[in-house]
């Protein structure tokens, strides 16, 4: 029953954060950061199972492993960037959050460029 634990941690942290926000807002932010990390660590082990299933599926199709690793990297970047951006937003730093998202977008773009260019080359080569 991990969901009970996670919801429990989340509710306690929420109450703490609400109480602290009136007295000391900077501690409220730290509580929310730590809670986020704890919940993330809770579910990251479950995510390995999903990744394994995806791996099996990828092996069954003819697609190469490089695409699969690219997708996984992209998802990882997206998760981490999203996580950091949310925390920054919670702290009221919308500008930093936007920069984190920008960095995530650029990194994802860099990862996707080899596939894009390869596809383009391929299409040009197929042309008679």
């Amino acid at each position: 029953m991990e969901i009970l634990q996670i919801v429990g941690i989340g509710l306690i942290a929420t109450v703490l954060s609400v109480i602290l926000r009136q007295e000391k807002p900077e501690f409220a932010l730290q509580v929310s950061v730590v809670t986020g990390i704890i919940i993330f660590l809770f579910v990251i082990t479950k995510l390995t199972y999903v990744v394994q299933v995806l791996n099996n599926l990828a092996e069954r199709v003819d697609i190469d492993f490089i695409y699969f690793s690219t997708i996984l990297k992209v998802i990882g970047i997206a998760y981490i960037a999203e996580f950091g951006a949310q925390i920054s937003k919670d702290a009221g730093e919308g500008a930093i959050a936007a920069k984190i998202e920008l960095a995530g977008k650029i990194l994802i773009l860099v990862l996707s460029i080899p596939i894009l260019i390869a596809l383009l080359d391929l299409i040009i080569k197929i042309m008679p």
Binding site: L47, V50, V53, L54, L57, A58, R60, V61, D62, I63, D64, I66, Y67, T70, I71, V74, I75, I77, A78, Y79, A81, E82, A85, E101, G104, K105, I108, L109, V110, L111, S112, I113, P114, I115, L116, I117, A118, L119, D121, L122, K125, I126
Partner: protein, 199 residues
């Protein structure tokens, strides 16, 4: 033909499930659109891959992607070039040390001599087939093994071996036993082994 269609439809079905799972686990936010683009590209590749194989056997999309990834990495690796050189030097140095230690233990276990000094020449031309091969070996042995056991000295390798030992105490030896052992174990011609013995 029917097999081809079967494989193709199975591929499409699996990639559809794959993408559905991905859609669930990707975080919702502004980055979702970017991920969808990549997923779309991969879907296109999976869809047209069998046709490419059908039309021409020369095109290999995986090779293309790898080539693109490599070209990107090469652009990045200009800075790493100096590290590579450093690493190569270290590898050669370690290799020489290992060879020397090997020779010392070989000589000392097979004969009654003690190694005083050792000088090796190694083929450092990377392009040649026998890169790393031992070309020449110059050993100085001491007859009195028990004496000054502690101060074994390993000198740096010199490529130039034209210098000769002028010291009268040292005598070139033709000890077949040591020569054979060394040439057998190190894969080096016995003419290229010079052994001096400290009388």
């Amino acid at each position: 033909m029917i097999n081809f269609l079967k494989d193709w439809s199975i591929n499409i079905a699996i990639i559809a499930i794959f993408i559905t799972i991905l859609e669930i686990i990707i975080p919702k936010g502004s980055l979702k659109g970017y991920i969808n683009v990549i997923i779309g590209l991969i879907l296109i590749i999976v869809l047209i891959n069998p046709f490419i194989n059908l039309i021409s056997n020369n095109i290999d999309i995986e090779k293309e992607v790898f080539a693109n990834v490599n070209s990107y990495n090469e652009e990045n690796s200009v800075v790493k070039e100096s590290f590579k050189e450093l690493q190569k030097d270290q590898i050669i140095k370690t290799y020489k040390e290992k060879v020397k230690k090997n020779i010392i233990s070989l000589v000392e276990s097979e004969s009654k001599y003690k190694v005083e000094n050792i000088n090796i020449t190694i083929n450092l031309n990377e392009n040649e087939k026998d890169f790393g091969k031992l070309m020449k070996l110059k050993l100085t042995l001491n007859k009195h093994r028990e004496k000054n056991r502690s101060n074994i000295k390993i000198e740096d390798v010199e490529v130039n071996i034209s210098e000769t030992f002028n010291n009268k105490n040292y005598k070139l030896t033709n000890d077949k036993k040591i020569l054979n052992i060394l040439s057998d174990n190190l894969n080096i011609d016995s003419n290229n082994i010079l052994i001096y013995i400290n009388q």
